[in-house]
């Protein structure tokens, strides 16, 4: 095709065959106007594995409790140490590799973590299309609806939602502009900006388009906790986004996710801090957004559209990386794997150090040591565990910020080993 013909095709990019309103939830309806994006969006059911990412389709026999016939591989089976890491917490019963957006709702509904613990409606914030339900529950007030649904038991709240993340969760139906619909992020980013001296930050009016290409993902790919008995979803960012800032935040709040079954330490669970880690990396610094790599532009006839098949960029290196990096696909893949390999090495060193500490505390405890004498070691475990989990739970195996990821793991090793020393007689005191 020559550029002239392109002109013809290109005249008006999209035909509006249906009118979309602020209550149009079903992606299928949006798909009538934007068939290409819709088709790609549905491709997130694909399961392909990469060295450290993607996901593997594991067949399973459906039951009444869990009708899924295919799930992602179990991370607990891949690395038994995780069961010790999370002893006494729901994650020790079921934790799987995450997969495409199409599965987010069913995977949350049927994870065994639901059966061993009573979860709140808050969970839905990041696993379903909640914009319309929130607006309904709040009679047009997003935040009110959010608060109302947070409080409900999960099993009740789940009946209010129908879809996994949908068009309306990221787009304004009138202008198609990106829009932040998640209260957790709206409030979290405001708290973060405040810590940087920016007051009353309103993300939907103050963020640039390039920022929104990241923020729409930051709505969910972040560390979080449930605050108070209202189970309000909260992003712990008021001290900053670095692991050290977040840990300090939890210290100030004296927050714990659970008490470790083997050691009795009050510990924390880190969860998918992609947004936070990315922020410390060179790509963020260079203005490269999540969408640039995970939803790269692709050419369809005379148009270039954003690939709505959100997935590992390693399955799409050509569009995701090669526009900016003139290296071969093979070369780019091995660069990523070198970075991930180094991270994985340190991750295992940190994991073993923590296993040693947990064993020591357990033995000291069964050996009848007083809580006072265990306090220091437990405090070290709390910090070592959060730092390790921060990278373990983050899903790029360090790629989003290679040096920072290894720095965090190195500090974790130090905390674990110091914890062990705290349980032993200092050498100074011997003869």
């Amino acid at each position: 095709v020559n550029i002239l013909e392109r002109k013809q095709e290109g005249q008006n990019p999209f035909y509006r065959v249906v009118e979309l309103s602020d209550t149009t939830e079903s992606p299928e309806i949006w798909g009538a106007n934007f068939p290409q994006q819709y088709d790609d969006y549905r491709k997130t059911v694909d399961q392909v594995r990469t060295r450290y990412g993607g996901s593997e389709a594991v067949p399973k026999t459906p039951t009444d409790a869990d009708p899924r016939s295919i799930v992602a591989q179990s991370r607990l089976e891949e690395d038994q140490r995780l069961k010790t890491l999370w002893a006494g917490y729901a994650f020790a019963t079921d934790f799987r590799e995450e997969r495409g957006h199409a599965f987010m709702l069913e995977d949350q509904l049927f994870t065994e973590r639901q059966t061993v613990a009573q979860q709140p409606g808050t969970c839905l914030h990041c696993h379903a299309s909640v914009y319309v339900p929130y607006m309904k529950a709040g009679n047009g007030d997003l935040i009110k609806g959010f608060e109302a649904i947070n409080k409900l038991p999960y099993q009740e709240a789940k009946n209010l939602v129908t879809h996994p993340v949908a068009c309306i969760d990221c787009h304004d139906p009138k202008t198609m502009q990106l829009r932040i619909t998640r209260p957790g992020f709206i409030e979290g980013i405001r708290a973060f900006k405040a810590s940087k001296g920016v007051r009353d930050y309103d993300v939907n009016t103050m963020a640039t388009r390039q920022e929104l290409r990241t923020f729409v993902c930051g709505q969910c790919h972040v560390e979080y906790y449930f605050q108070g008995k209202e189970k309000r979803l909260t992003y712990p960012w008021s001290n900053g986004l670095r692991v050290d800032d977040i840990f300090q935040y939890y210290e100030e709040k004296k927050f714990k996710d659970w008490t470790h079954a083997e050691t009795g330490a009050d510990v924390l669970k880190a969860q998918h801090p992609e947004f936070e880690l990315w922020n410390q990396g060179i790509h963020a610094r260079s203005g490269v957004a999540c969408a640039d790599c995970h939803m790269p532009y692709k050419r369809v006839g005379a148009l270039k559209i954003s690939d709505h098949h959100v997935r590992s960029p390693l399955l799409n290196v050509n569009h995701a990386c090669q526009t900016c990096h003139r290296w071969s696909e093979e070369e780019l893949k091995s660069r990523v794997e070198i970075i991930q390999g180094r991270t994985y090495t340190m991750r295992n060193i940190a994991m073993n150090a923590l296993m040693d500490l947990i064993r020591d505390i357990r033995m000291a405890r069964t050996g009848g040591r007083s809580n006072e004498s265990l306090a220091s070691a437990r405090a070290y475990q709390r910090q070592a565990q959060f730092y390790l989990d921060f990278i373990e739970a983050e899903n790029s195996m360090g790629f989003h910020a290679p040096q920072e990821a290894v720095r965090i793991l190195g500090e974790s090793v130090n905390f674990s080993r110091l914890g062990q020393a705290a349980l032993r007689e200092p050498v100074a005191e011997r003869n």
Binding site: G10, P13, Q177, R209, Q210, R299, A302, K304, T323
Partner: protein
């Protein structure tokens, strides 16, 4: 007159006009084939050795057969185009003569905007879909090498 001849004529006229009016040393202007500033022949830009790198980088680029320097480095529209040529022509000649310019060369924000907008001259359709969100994005942030292969 063919369009081509017309252009040359205009160039000649404008050339001397701008040359004089902006006080570019007539000597420099002629010697450095300042008139070349007003043609669209890329080789003309390379009359200055400092442009050689970009010239050869352009020769290797995906656009060598589809876009010349001026397609990207001058705004569309007759007046705007020659105004830019005049000012760049003046400043470049000036800088070149005094030898007072950064090394490596860095495109100035104003000229970067011109280049970014230039993309739309030819790719408006292709990128229409991107436009529908409002808010701007820089083409160059991703397509840094289109005009100049490294």
């Amino acid at each position: 007159m063919t369009p081509g001849q017309q252009r040359t004529l205009i160039s000649a006229v404008l050339g001397t006009a701008i040359g004089a009016s902006l006080g570019v040393g007539a000597y420099t202007f002629v010697y450095a084939k300042g008139g070349s500033y007003l043609t669209d022949n890329p080789a003309a830009c390379a009359n200055c050795h400092v442009m050689n790198d970009h010239y050869s980088a352009w020769l290797k680029s995906s656009h060598r057969s589809v876009a010349v320097c001026n397609d990207c480095h001058t705004p569309s529209g007759f007046i705007a185009k020659y105004a830019t040529k005049a000012s760049n022509g003046f400043w470049h000649s000036y800088a070149f003569t005094t030898g007072d310019f950064p090394d490596p060369l860095r495109i100035k924000p104003h000229n970067l905007d011109i280049a970014n907008n230039a993309c739309q001259k030819c790719h408006a359709e292709m990128t229409a879909s991107m436009g529908i969100h409002g808010g701007s994005v820089s083409c160059v942030s991703c397509h840094q090498f289109v005009g100049h292969m490294e």
